[in-house]
Subunit: 328 residues, 2 copies
């Protein structure tokens, strides 16, 4: 691993982000990443966070049109309530704060406590829980479904609504709509290695893959001998469509888990698009890249999000963050 | 690997790019990626290309403000002259075409032949050779120094000059200036696996790293027991500064080889910035991410580019490509 010592991995990364992104204010000690111009008068602020190891999620999504602040925890470990409350205080303009929370037990509890802390300080708080992963219910770290790729859609689309000056209850409603219309399915071709452990977090023999993997290497649905890119796309997309037959054109996220080359990811996208075409699903927009990763895991996930005219307009709205940027 | 069969990896990826980027015209059969609005009247066109496996280089850099077209070869194999000549014909507006060529023997020969083909068709062609890697001279595929991370700087800055309507000889001169003022050094923490071979292209035992690695896994300067991120930054930056003590603020590219998590890459950037500070080198801009990759290789490279007011202005100019986008 390209690290100093496991104990400083997150702080080191925050120092490196601070140097790379002058538009962000990075509080390395308190582990809060804030857009430099926050609070923005008249706008609802969006705060998210979660364990580190999923970069660019969430810190790479801080900026105009998306998150106001992000709180990174230790690797694969929820940030603490103090971080989130501090972030909320830093970005609240008086219009309120929306917490975007991936559905993992630690994150849910800590964001709940942070909401109480923030409300004690007079900050109005709403929450959107992201739980898009159709692979399993009640996994290693989750009651209910896990939150994965849809987080990007929620943060982008709710962020665009906030940037338009829409009120907190509306931004929250849009975030919920995005989550409710989103489904994901992921596969692992290799395990990932956390800095603290230094060895793979689970065993996945060469020549096998895990279908329905989580973003922390939590077990999926089943393990099989290696499949082709086309077979994996069939399995993943069908798993999503069984759960949610889309009633409208979809946003497609073909997301790399970290170590899968972009060359392979684009090939996988071709197969995902083929399956969608065969199943009669119209595609509105497609995003391909490493956005919700799992350290050095090889593999990919597919997320589909149902759109309507309003959501599509908000998706296309300008955004300026380290990892997602267009229109400004 | 997330593929169908090795034989279709490049074609599959091109189909996937076509689906993801409506602003690009992707000719899958002839393997040419062109910006949709080409040729652009009054503008010099930039064409680059090289073996696949380095994505997003080069196809991800096609668009306004950067490349007009890219030609992907087979994995780690030069594209053929016909591809480049076809690309030149597709994008030439009459203002001429600049070929940007990484210094590998196959690429150099094939771009030379392509230039002759294009000139036979009445297209004015100039070339910039990129050879920024200070690690070794005369490597496995190269006479002289290898072309690596500086390619991004040349393509971006020369692309901005072309977008301003500067004439071919000026765009060429700017590209040369960028290359001559750029130096790179890379390290590998693991080997990479090509689809055709299916096993690592070289042996790099756990707990060792290769200093001065090439982007195809060509041997570097030496192999050592694992070093810390800080030690690697010291070694890489010092190797560059020994070769080129910068006389002006630099652009910094901290580039991932493919499989190194962004979390680690940001931590590495913090150490690179520390070394530059200690050595008294002023930093104008920093870019961190996976831009010039080597399939699933773990590792990173550092590229420094000397700037002046003009180069910095061109670096900051708007660009709209899949992998690099700002200001529009």
């Amino acid at each position: 691993m390209l690290i100093n010592v496991p104990e400083t991995v997150v702080a080191d990364a925050l120092r490196g982000m601070a140097a790379a992104y002058p538009d962000l204010t990075v509080d390395v000690e308190n582990r809060v990443i804030v857009r430099r111009d926050a609070p923005v008068a008249g706008q609802v602020a969006l705060v998210s966070g979660g364990g580190s190891g999923h970069e660019p999620l969430h810190g790479g999504f801080v900026g105009p049109g998306m998150l106001s602040a992000a709180c990174p925890g230790e690797v694969f470990t929820s940030p603490v309530p103090d971080q989130m409350a501090r972030a909320a205080a830093a970005v609240d303009s008086g219009a309120g704060v929306l917490f975007i929370v991936k559905n993992y037990t630690g994150d849910v509890l800590n964001f709940d406590m942070a909401a109480e802390l923030a409300e004690d300080e007079g900050i109005q708080v709403a929450k959107v829980l992201v739980n898009d992963d159709v692979a399993v219910t009640d996994s290693l770290y989750t009651a209910g479904r896990r939150g994965t790729g849809a987080t990007l859609f929620v943060e982008k689309i709710a962020g665009a609504a906030a940037a338009e000056g829409q009120p907190l209850e509306r931004v929250e409603a849009i975030g919920r709509q995005v989550n409710e219309g989103s489904r994901s399915f992921g596969v692992a071709l290799s395990a990932c290695t956390t800095p603290a452990k230094g060895t793979p977090t689970f065993e996945l023999p060469d020549g096998e893959l895990e279908l329905g993997i989580g973003i922390h290497g939590e077990p999926g649905r089943e393990r099989r001998p290696m499949m082709t890119s086309g077979e994996i796309a069939d399995f993943a997309v069908n798993a999503i469509l069984e759960d949610m037959p889309p009633r409208s054109p979809v946003l497609v996220l073909v997301n790399g888990m970290g170590a899968t080359p972009l060359l392979e990811l684009f090939g996988f996208n071709a197969e995902v698009q083929r399956v969608l075409r065969e199943r009669g699903v119209a595609v509105a927009r497609t995003l391909v890249g490493n956005y919700v990763t799992s350290l050095d895991m090889a593999g990919a996930s597919v997320t589909l999000c149902q759109t309507d005219e309003e959501l599509l307009r908000l998706w296309d709205a300008p955004v300026k963050t380290p990892a997602l940027r267009w229109g400004m």
